[in-house]
């Protein structure tokens, strides 16, 4: 029998991005012995890719901003499908979470009076994003990483051991969660470095594994984004919601081919960048939906005035929510007005002097120069839609982030509900701080109350070992993991991509079913030490099951909303707004259920215009709203 390293913890956090680190900090501050499982090295998580900033209504730049405006923007961006309570908590708590980072040593860019500077971003009514140049994600991850190191230093001073209360397991992948009597008892995985197995016994597990982007071919996501947490939760008996909503970032690089998918931050547009088609036309003016017509400029002159005088002019349409921009670009390309590489042109070079561009977008400038030999101060960029973020994820309690299985929590991209059908730029960094803290806090509280000791049964461990070793056992005679991955990515990209239709979705499900069978026969050569082929083979079963959820839910939802666009159902349908599609696992198959959305509290409802609500709500709901307003008025 293989040797298995065993550990006992109060709280195990799977994932070492912003959400995981924030949760771990909170659990450790609550006195719990905490483990952080990092698929990569400590501090390399995908959070570093977030460029724009973290949205928080601090009101440093425009004092009219407050949590209610932020809440409204978030709901509007998510097309009212958000879990209202999560959006509310997020808007209320984000400023505190940002300020807290400064006490950990973060250095945000400043306003003239020395406060944290805030920038404009698509979908946000006021300048709201705390930022550091365009490397805010890096600042965030580094700050949290350094906070954890500082906690370890405190523990070293107290106990002589840096890792006595909080330990990072770097380059470790979790392949199984253990559940006994509907309670979490621990998890199991392997060290990449040695290929040795490791078992954690713990009453509370926080999933913070990020998204599913690796299932798509053109994606900004790294190899880690294989939907591990989504799949672990499913197999543990929890449910996923909103999986049909996948955000395609409108502006990923489309040239050169090898860096296809790398994102060009939206702040390029916030700072004055404009989108043009191959005819040189600034085409976004043709794509302003009725819902937004009031807030967006109708002429180039007005749009240009907005950058210097936002109070008296309406915003340029380049700052529409990102799904609108993605759809517009897609339409232009399909109409034959795209760039040579199949995107459109994003231009800052003719809009600002070179020094200003370098100052405002330093890493963008650097990235394009290094990767593509393109000087963005001299020529336009070629950009197009790219898979970026999944709104769907584990269904959790909004206040505690607890999933349906006792002891399981989910936070960050792997959790669902907060962003509804579409996430606003900048809301993910604040999301992971706000709910990371809450998940850590409630996981710690749960660990206090949970029965001890927790034990994982030997049979369950043996089964996990067998599953993990199977691809190596089949050796090179099995299906190639690289070929399977590439087929899966192609399928998702072509058939479950930015624009969807019934026939394609049905075909995708057939192909996924076939892939699922073949993935059972995946085989790899080589040994257990740092063998990427083996790692991919184990990730594949997660990727395929999560892809199935996305495809099934996308087929079921017969409307277009946010990150889900059906060519055969191009309109938003108010009756669909009241429905969440919930995925769970029965045996090996994904089951889909419809569940009603929680009903927004009246005082939150009243934050909106009736005219605006009428675009989202059913007549029945509107009548209720009117009755309410009437009562308030009387």
């Amino acid at each position: 029998m293989t040797n298995i390293e065993r550990h006992n913890y109060d709280v195990v956090v799977i994932g070492a991005g912003g959400a995981g680190l924030r949760a771990a900090i909170e659990a450790r501050l609550a006195g719990k012995k905490t483990a952080i499982i990092s698929k990569s090295l400590f501090g390399k998580a995908h959070t570093v890719m977030a460029e724009g900033g973290a949205a928080a209504a601090m009101g440093n730049v425009n004092s009219r901003d407050n949590w209610m405006v932020h809440f409204r923007d978030t709901m509007r961006g998510g097309k009212f499908l958000n879990n209202f309570r999560m959006a509310e908590l997020h808007a209320k708590e984000a400023p505190d979470r940002i300020w807290e980072l400064e006490t950990y040593g973060a250095l945000f860019d400043r306003t003239k009076d020395g406060k944290i500077s805030q920038r404009n971003f698509g979908g946000h009514e006021y300048p709201r994003l705390a930022h550091v140049g365009d490397r805010t994600g890096l600042e965030l991850i580094r700050t949290l990483q350094q906070k954890i190191v500082s906690l370890q230093q405190e523990d070293f001073a107290a106990t002589g051991n840096y890792e006595s209360r909080i330990r990072v397991f770097a380059e470790t992948t979790i392949t199984e969660l253990f559940v006994e009597n509907d309670r979490i008892t621990g998890c199991f995985g392997y060290y990449r470095e040695s290929g040795e197995f490791v078992l954690f016994e713990a009453p509370a597990v926080v999933l913070a594994t990020g998204g599913i982007g690796r299932s798509f071919k053109v994606t900004s996501n790294s190899w880690e984004y294989t939907g591990d947490g989504h799949a672990l939760a499913l197999r543990a008996g929890a449910a996923l919601i909103n999986m049909e909503f996948v955000q395609f970032h409108p502006t990923g690089m489309v040239w050169p081919p090898s860096v296809k998918g790398i994102l060009v931050t939206e702040s390029v547009r916030g700072d004055g960048g404009v989108l043009r088609n191959s005819e040189g036309k600034r085409f976004m003016f043709d794509y302003v939906p009725d819902v937004f017509r009031k807030q967006y400029a109708e002429t180039e002159e007005e749009a240009d005035r907005w950058y210097t005088d936002p109070d008296n002019n309406r915003r340029p349409p380049e700052l529409l929510p990102r799904d609108e921009v993605a759809r517009a670009i897609n339409a232009e390309v399909k109409a034959g007005r795209g760039s040579p590489a199949g995107g459109v042109f994003l231009d800052v070079s003719t809009r600002m002097p070179a020094e200003v561009i370098i100052k405002r977008l330093p890493s963008m400038h650097h990235q394009f120069k290094e990767l593509a030999d393109v000087d963005i101060t001299k020529q336009p960029m070629e950009v197009g839609p790219t898979c970026h973020y999944v709104m769907g994820g584990v269904e959790v309690d909004p206040d505690t982030e607890a999933a349906a299985v006792s002891g399981l929590f989910a936070v960050g991209e792997v959790s669902g509900g907060m962003h509804g059908s579409n996430r606003l730029g900048g809301n993910s960094l604040s999301d992971l701080l706000v709910f990371g803290k809450r998940a850590g806090e409630y996981a710690a509280r749960y660990a206090d109350e949970a029965a001890r000791p927790v034990k994982v049964s030997p049979a369950a461990v043996n089964a996990a070992v067998e599953t993990a070793l199977a691809p190596l056992g089949r050796g090179e005679g099995g299906e190639s993991p690289y070929a399977l991955q590439s087929e899966l990515q192609q399928t998702m990209n072509d058939l479950v991509g930015i624009i969807r239709r019934r026939s394609e979705l049905e075909e995708s499900l057939a192909r996924l079913a076939d892939l699922k069978e073949r993935i059972k026969k995946v085989g790899v050569g080589g040994g257990r030490r740092y063998n990427p082929g083996w790692h991919l083979a184990l990730d594949l079963r997660n990727m395929v099951i999560v892809s199935e959820c996305t495809a099934k839910a996308a087929l079921e939802r017969e409307e277009s909303r946010g990150g889900h666009t059906r060519e055969d159902f191009p309109k938003m349908d108010p009756s669909w707004r009241r429905v969440n599609l919930v995925c769970s696992l029965r045996g090996e198959d994904v089951q889909l259920e419809r569940k009603p959305l929680p009903k927004m509290r009246p005082e939150l409802m009243e934050l909106f215009d009736r005219a605006e609500l009428s675009k989202y709500l059913t007549d029945e709901e509107l009548a209720e709203f009117d009755a309410l307003a009437g009562k308030a008025g009387a």
Partner: protein, 359 residues
């Protein structure tokens, strides 16, 4: 965009040893070295180990040595090589190999732990931090660091000297120390001393290799190491201070007199007025202490010794023997002919004991 076949050599092996293996692999327009490594994985060597994440030069995972130069695989364009050139890819040399291109970089995480974290200012609540952009910019430069550890890998002090690793933190952590030292609100005042005592910054001989390889173009040597060293030189290697420490009790001087006063001064100054003071002659209290020390010994060892000068020989290689052919009238000066007399007082080694009352 048709691909062409290029020659690649990749180091394969583990802690027990290994060798370079040759590959013929397709390369397309616009690709980078990491793309080629991935193609090798997908087509010829499925278990070829390599670290990578973002593929955009932002996470610092894919550090490797390409034709002997430490680089990020994702930021090295294939177009920078000749079509006929063999591209050789090896793991970072300074760290122990795990497998193939993956090395054990835990050294860096250990050093990170040994450096005291940001110390929040007492009595400033979250949300009340006020700093000026110009003051945070110096530290922000260092916070651009993506922890690729190329600077650590290239640093001569540890690259071929395993024995130095214990006492030396390396450039990555000198910029971290500098970042905290220059942080407008960090409450610790001993960052420079720690750099010397705990991090071994004295080992650095400023060859700037770290600056050259930094993919973020952080001016590691000029903006971090030299300012951190300057203060260190001032305090640690100043012969006066050294002599003083022989005369006074060690603990009176070892932590310089400015230690406590600096803390007070920082607290009184608003953050925005904090000047880049690295290397400047520190606080008045220290001045007084050094004057006192000078008085005790009557010698200004701190004076810069004049450079030697050649004798003013004529075209025939001989000293002029008469004042008619010499450069000046009269005999040559024993101080050197280019020294104006009387000499500036500060330049004289000897100090009259009575002058110690001044100031």
């Amino acid at each position: 965009m048709m691909g062409e076949v290029r020659n690649f050599r990749v180091w394969r092996g583990d802690a027990d040893g290994g060798q370079l293996e040759d590959f013929q692999v397709e390369v397309n327009d616009g690709e980078v070295v990491l793309d080629i490594i991935h193609r090798l994985q997908a087509t010829q060597a499925p278990d070829l180990a390599v670290r990578w994440n973002c593929k955009a030069g932002k996470c610092g995972s894919c550090s490797m040595e390409i034709n002997g130069k430490p680089r990020l695989g994702c930021m090295t364009r294939m177009s920078t090589f000749e079509a006929t050139e063999t591209v050789t890819v090896t793991p970072l040399r300074t760290f122990p190999v795990i497998r193939d291109l993956v090395t054990d970089v835990s050294f860096n995480y250990q050093k990170a732990r040994e450096l005291p974290a940001f110390a929040p200012p007492a009595g400033v609540a979250p949300g009340e931090y006020r700093m000026q952009q110009v003051d945070v910019e110096r530290s922000q430069e260092f916070r651009k660091c993506i922890e690729c550890f190329l600077c650590q890998n290239v640093c001569h002090v540890v690259r071929d000297h395993e024995e130095n690793k214990k006492a030396f933190s390396g450039p990555r952590f000198f910029i971290r120390a500098a970042e905290l030292d220059m942080h407008p609100l960090d409450a610790r005042t001993d960052r420079k001393d720690l750099a010397v005592e705990e991090q071994g910054i004295g080992y650095c001989n400023i060859t700037k290799c770290c600056t050259e390889v930094c993919p973020e173009h952080i001016k590691i040597t000029d903006n971090a190491i030299i300012p951190m060293k300057e203060r260190a030189v001032d305090r640690r290697y100043d012969p006066i201070a050294w002599l003083g420490s022989k005369i006074f009790h060690r603990d009176q001087l070892d932590r310089p007199a400015g230690h406590t006063t600096t803390g007070v001064a920082t607290a009184e100054r608003p953050a925005s007025s904090r000047q880049p003071d690295a290397g400047s002659p520190s606080t008045p209290a220290e001045h007084a202490a050094s004057h006192q020390a000078q008085g005790e010994i009557s010698m200004n060892w701190h004076r810069e010794a004049p450079a030697g000068q050649a004798a003013p020989v004529g075209s025939d290689g001989r000293l002029p023997v008469t004042e008619f052919t010499g450069q000046m009238a009269g005999a040559q000066s024993p101080f050197g002919d280019d020294v104006p007399l009387p000499l500036p007082v500060d330049d004289i080694n000897y100090q009259h004991p009575s002058r110690t009352d001044e100031g």
